[in-house]
Amino acid sequence: MRCPHEWGPDTVSGMHPATAPETWADPDALPLLQALLLFVGVPLGLVIVISLLAAAPAIARASRQRRDADAFAQPRWFGGPSVDARSERRALGRGSTDAQSETESDAESEAESEVGGGAGARW
């Protein structure tokens, strides 16, 4: 076998030009509508799908918050005062004399000053 530096004119003339092989298919040109669909429609569709996937968690969170807002619209007590007990106490307060209401208001203000320990947090 000869080395490349030994190649002569006879070797170069024997080489084939760089054209597409004849065995390759030669399809007709795409119609305009089909070309638009392929080069515009498909990328646009991909962009929409990826955007939706990216926004899905935020959409789910928003819908969950809406659902929670509906659920928490009605407050829930565990071991709290019943409505009946509250109304009874209110009724008793209304029927009391002035002296009694004064005593009650004193007791309430005392209780107000006494309540207050604890802690809070936000999340």
């Binding site: 928490f72 005062p81 209780a111 320990g117 604890g118 802690a119």
Partner: protein, 131 residues
């Protein structure tokens, strides 16, 4: 789950059981309110505890899920056995559970912790002999 109720039956039972356990172990009365806390949740919670018949020995755990606020309010007698540092510690623990989305679990666990912190020490020297 009934409409408008965010807790299912098991969760409601777990919270109630935790509350009763805490009541039993501490001798205090625990109340849980889950709902809107208004502009100032702490003031709202204090007003709610004052409304309760046993506010002195009561502990109110108020959770505002929409406002993302938690308040633990103790009455004057309750504060003697459940100090503010213990409440802050429990609030921190509950905050973590709420941030992870576990509302019912956070409340139940928080009640257990509050009950443990407020547990009455066993009296070893009494006038009555131990059985």
């Amino acid at each position: 789950m009934p409409g408008g109720d965010v807790f299912n039956l098991d969760q409601r039972r777990a919270i109630d059981r935790a509350r009763l356990d805490a009541n039993r172990s501490s001798g205090l009365t625990f109340h849980v309110y889950v709902g809107a806390g208004g502009e100032d949740p702490r003031s709202t919670a204090r007003a709610m505890l004052r409304e309760l018949p046993d506010s002195g020995s009561g502990v109110l755990v108020m959770v505002d899920p929409m406002g993302r606020a938690l308040e633990i309010i103790t009455g004057v007698q309750a504060r003697r056995v459940l100090d503010d540092a213990a409440c802050a510690l429990v609030a921190l623990s509950m905050q973590g559970a709420f941030a992870a989305g576990d509302l019912a679990g956070g409340i139940a666990h928080g009640l257990h912790q509050l009950g443990d912190h407020a547990r009455r020490p066993r009296t070893l020297h009494t006038s009555h002999p131990l059985p």
